[in-house]
Structures are given as C-alpha cells and as structure tokens.
C-alpha cells in the first residue's frame, strides 16, 4: 500500500523546520515517528501535501527532569520513557502507561509528543497527560506558547495547534507531595488499541488528604476524557474505599463508549468503573508507600 505522493523536507535544525512549517501553512505536516501518520497515509485517511521530517532534530530526543517538571522532547520515542528513572521519579502514571503503548517495535520508533499531537481518542498518552495535568510547548517561527493539555486536546484527531506550529516539548508537573498513579488498559492483544483504559493520579498531603487528583479515560469518547467531576470529588478528601467507588461510578457515567469489535458499550462502561476504582486503589497504595 502506498500513500499519495507528497513533497518531503528534512530540516537539519529546529529553526529550519519552523520556517518550513510557516511557509507551508496548512499544507505542511510534521513527520516524527510516523507510527500513526504513515499507516493513515497508506490507508488514504490522511494525504498531507508536504511532510516535514523532524527525525534529524536529535536535540529534541530528550527526557529530563527540569525545574519543577519532567520534560519530554518532540523526538523522544515511547521506548525512551519505559523504565526511565526520571519518569518513574516524577510521574508514576506515565511510568505505568509506558510499557503498554503499542508494541515494542512501534515504541522504538513512535514518539510520545507525536502521539499526543495526533489526538486519537484511542491513544494512551493523552489520558495520562490529562490525569497528571501536563502541558504542551508549541513552537513556531514567531515564538513559543505553553498550552495546558485540556486546551490542547480539542476533539477526535484535533489539537489546538495553529498553522505553522509544532509540539516541541511536553511537560509533566512534579507532584507536590507523596504521589501515586496507574494506567490500567484492557487490550485484546499487545499492539491493539485499548478496549478501554483509565489513567489515575493522586497527590497526598502529609496528613493523607488528597491535594490533587487526576482521572482520564481512553477509547470511550470522541476524545480522551478527563473526568473533572470525579477529580473534584476526591480533592480535599481522605482516601477511602467508598470515596474511590463513588469516583469510579462518576467516571462510568461520564464516558460514552460505542459497541464495536472490542465489546459492547455496557461492557466497556463496566470496565471503566472497575479500572477507575482499581487505578485509584493502586495510586493510593503507591502514594502511601512513597510517603
């Protein structure tokens, strides 16, 4: 299978890439790992006239602990965040999700930032990012802006980047207190999209009160779904079985799954309920263990 013909650009620096994207406007598309974009082009679901390949921008292939946050550069591959000490130290939710993204070969090529920019509601990373309150650095030839992930993920395969902009970094805030998190994903086989998945995050004060909470769902709505109502319920409370059960019930009500080959809608809703509860339990156990 072949994609429609396109013009190929291979900039050697970020400045060169950004000026090319500026020049191409809506006709230009960034090629990072290509593990979603290339299959979509082969299936003729996408037909960009120009690809700006950023694989030579190796300065962007970083995962590092910066002031107050974990920084993931645009060219960091999924494999770079699996078993990564900085990721484990700063974001337990992300560390939990990393081994379950796609399959090992896809993880070697696909990028975290590319997957986030792709905004596939069946993608794993945007649930993680919504749960932990990440932000995205968008760069263009005229400057840089930082977009909270909730504003970045607009809808089905739609992000809030402007013409000529690309994602250059993803930032995951460092938790204030003792934190825990999990990403629980039900998949038929490795490499399949999630039937349903839940990202959870809890940040606890010294007295055990929940100071920050994150819950976001994969593959059960037209975009990765942040369950704000459940998060608000948790914040300020002391963890308990009953509280987590209530939050899970809210998540199950909030989602809007469709029946398909991966299962009927009601089954997926039940999975969201069970996995949200279980994910919060795991996040709490981890936060307690770390405090």
């Amino acid at each position: 299978m072949y994609p429609p013909a396109f013009e190929y650009w291979s900039p050697r620096s970020l400045d060169e890439a950004l000026s090319k994207l500026q020049e191409l406007g809506n006709d230009g598309r960034v090629l990072a790992g290509g593990q979603s974009l290339i299959p979509m082009m082969k299936l003729r679901l996408a037909a960009p006239a120009n690809l700006v390949d950023i694989n030579n921008l190796t300065d962007l292939a970083y995962v590092r602990a910066d002031n107050g946050h974990l920084a993931i550069g645009a060219l960091a591959r999924h494999a770079d965040v699996v078993d990564n000490a900085d990721v484990k130290a700063i974001s337990p939710t992300m560390a939990s999700a990393a081994p379950w993204v796609a399959d090992p070969l896809v993880r070697n090529r696909g990028t975290v930032a590319g997957s986030i920019a792709h905004c596939d509601p069946e993608g794993d990373w945007n649930s993680v990012m919504l749960a932990v309150g990440a932000s995205v650095v968008a760069s263009s030839s005229s400057g840089q802006r930082v977009i909270p992930i909730g504003e970045f993920v607009v809808d089905f395969f739609t992000n809030s980047l402007d013409e000529g902009e690309m994602v250059t970094e993803v930032r995951i805030p460092r938790p204030a207190g003792a934190a825990g998190g999990a990403y629980l994903k039900l998949e038929r086989k490795i490499g399949d999209y999630a039937t349903a998945a839940v990202a959870t995050f809890l940040d606890l004060a010294g007295d055990g009160t929940i100071t920050n909470a994150g819950i976001a769902l994969t593959a059960v709505a037209s975009k990765n779904l942040k369950v704000t109502e459940a998060e608000q319920l948790l914040i300020g409370q002391t963890p308990s079985d009953e509280l987590f059960g209530e939050a899970a019930a809210i998540a199950a009500r909030a989602c809007d799954p469709e029946s398909d080959v991966r299962g009927p809608a009601e089954y997926k809703r039940a999975v969201i309920n069970a996995y949200t509860k279980r994910g919060l339990d795991q996040a709490f156990a981890q936060a307690k263990g770390g405090s």
Binding site: Y2, A5, L31, Q35, V106, N108
Partner: protein
C-alpha cells in the same frame, strides 16, 4: 531523491520517490527479499529490520528517513557461518512456514545484545510486536534462549 543507507555494512544508494517505504527500498531497489511484507499495517512485524541496532517495522518508515542510517536485515546475520540464532532456530524447530522468522531473529538479536539469558517472559515481551501463525511461539522462545546460551558459551 537520492537515499544512501548502509545495509549490512555496505553503503547502498538509490534514487527514490519520497513515499517509498523502507521495506520496498530494501526488497525492490536493493533486491534483498529476506525482509518480508505481511500485514503492511504496522501489526505483524514480518518487515522488522534493525535501524542503527534497534528493531523497527520497515513498512512504517519512509526510505527517505533512513538516509544516512545503518540498517541490518536478515541477510546480514550470516557472517561466513550461520549466526547462532539461525543455528538455534534450525535446531529447535523455531519456524514452520518461515514468514515471520527474519523478524523474530532480528528482534532476538537486539534482545540478546542486552541480555544473553532472557527468561521466557522477557523473550515473549520482546517478540510481542511480531506475529507467528504457525508455531504457537514456544519453539521461537526456546530458539532465542538457546542462541543466547550459545553466544554466552563462545
């Protein structure tokens, strides 16, 4: 556009369209047909090659992106003698139809370079992006472990 790739240690160039996939560059431009095309949709791993030593799916990369990089294909395993992986796949009946075998051996090679005595789980995890429809995987796991033992023994 002109693309130059070092394949199994030898620099090879060809003039290609930007949309040419790496797997077709290898099979059609270079005439090396050991790298297979299975699903053509990033699922099966039959097209696995090593890009600068790391296994990737060559049906999901443009040849243009490989310009200046090193690729190893199954043809590069044999170095005078069969590679220990090739010997062990033969001895342990690690293949039946053989379609997935190049990918399995290359993933095995990348794994064994980090760890010559992987557990069953470690091997199964490493090959989880590669499908086999014949063996039930058991003998593939055995083959990769036996190759690791042979490499360690040398």
């Amino acid at each position: 556009m002109k693309v130059t790739v070092t394949i199994n240690g030898t620099a090879q160039s060809a003039d290609v369209e930007p949309r040419q996939l790496l797997v077709d560059f290898i099979r059609t431009e270079l005439g090396m047909t050991g790298t297979h095309i299975g699903c053509d949709t990033t699922s099966c791993g039959a097209c696995t090659v090593l890009l600068d030593g790391t296994p990737i799916k060559s049906c999901t990369m443009f040849a243009a992106s490989a310009d200046g990089h090193e690729i190893q294909t199954v043809e590069g395993l044999k170095n005078g003698e069969l590679h220990p992986l090739q010997v062990s796949f033969k001895q342990n009946h690690g293949l039946q139809c053989g379609f997935c075998t190049p990918g399995m051996m290359l993933v095995g090679k990348a794994l064994l370079e980090k760890n010559t005595s992987p557990t069953d789980d470690e091997v199964r995890w490493a090959i989880s992006g590669n499908l086999c429809r014949c063996t039930g995987y058991t003998n593939i796991v055995k083959s990769i472990q036996a190759a690791g033992a042979a490499i360690e023994g040398n």
